[in-house]
């Protein structure tokens, strides 16, 4: 009986593998591991996020030149205690491609960085927080384009305690000599 069951499993696996090779769906944009930024409660800080577009490909910048082109957009999910502020995109490069040498597209290729302003509330507890989001992009190469993709991203921020307001030098305290 065991032999029968094992045979059935093997056969079903073999059948499942008789499938067609997937057609390529375009390049991957990858995010480099982001540095852990320490942010003081209530104070804003900029988190730099570095991305790399695979060689031979480009993606539209955040401000492409045509209304029909899909811009690169980073979305970071705000938490209840950490506010996501302005996202600063780099300028794209005006580039012409072999398929339309007379036209220039505003694109990112190679490495680029997007800065995200993060501001924890004063009330947020200190500690490490994972921020999550997505980078939406649409890539092309010299002769073809690929459907828009959403790259999941995440980075850590470390929230530190704000220095106490009105803190006095203990040496000057009237109780210091007691």
């Amino acid at each position: 009986m065991r032999v029968l069951l094992a045979s059935a499993l093997l056969l079903s696996c073999a059948c499942a593998q008789v499938q067609d090779a997937p057609i390529p769906t375009g390049p991957a944009v990858k995010m480099a591991p982001a540095p852990v930024i320490t942010i003081v409660q209530g104070k804003p800080a900029t988190v730099p996020l570095s991305f790399r577009v695979a060689s031979g490909y480009h993606i539209n910048s955040n401000k492409p030149k045509s209304e029909f082109l899909i811009p690169t957009v980073l979305k970071v999910e705000a938490t209840t205690d950490i506010v996501i502020g302005k996202t600063t995109y780099p300028d794209g490069q005006d580039t012409s491609f072999a398929f339309a040498p007379d036209e220039k597209l505003n694109v990112y290729s190679g490495d680029f960085q997007i800065d995200v302003l993060v501001r924890p509330l004063k009330t947020v507890e200190k500690g490490k927080y994972i921020m999550r989001g997505t980078l939406k992009y649409q890539a092309c190469d010299n002769s073809a384009c690929y459907p828009p993709k959403q790259l999941p991203i995440s980075f850590d921020v470390k929230i530190a305690k704000a220095p106490a307001a009105g803190h006095k030098n203990p040496a000057q305290s009237p109780h210091a000599h007691q």
Partner: protein, 198 residues
Amino acid sequence: MKERGFSRRGLPVKRNPLILFFVAAIVAAMLFAGIHASRRNRANSPTKGQLIGNVAPDFELPGLDGKKLKLSDLRGKAVLLNFWATYCEPCKVEMPWFVELQKQYGPDGFQIVGVAMDDASTEDIAKFAKDMGVNYPILIGEDSVGTSYGGVGVLPTTFFLDRDGKLIAREFGLQSRSVFVDHIKKALSQGQAVQARK
């Protein structure tokens, strides 16, 4: 060592025929399901070799005016089936060629059909097509149709059908105009020219 199929006393173990039948049925069912799934996958996601030479997967999609067009209704004509999107710059390069080719070969029984694989609204697609001076039907694509053609993860992807509706060629990405002309001529020369149904 314990002998298989025998009890400790060396007497044959009684096999329940019902269990054996049940196991055999499971094995048969798994085999059938596996083979069926494999065939279905091949039919829905064919590779180039499996698609080309076979009748193109049929579909019915709405055009920019809302009227539906069924691919098999074009039987008798050579068809260039172009999957594209408004965000695809290389697709824009082909479109003026397609406009010319439609004018040039249309009277011979040639029809271009564009399928917009787009997230853009129908209005935006229509505006884009109007700006490009498109003179052939543009249909609003669905993922299932793309999948039936092996997936259209690369745009433009262009198929060529002969007059019998058989796929004779597929091209990924922007090609030179002469490549299109060669495929169109071949498509027009193959299959039976019959009056296309309306």
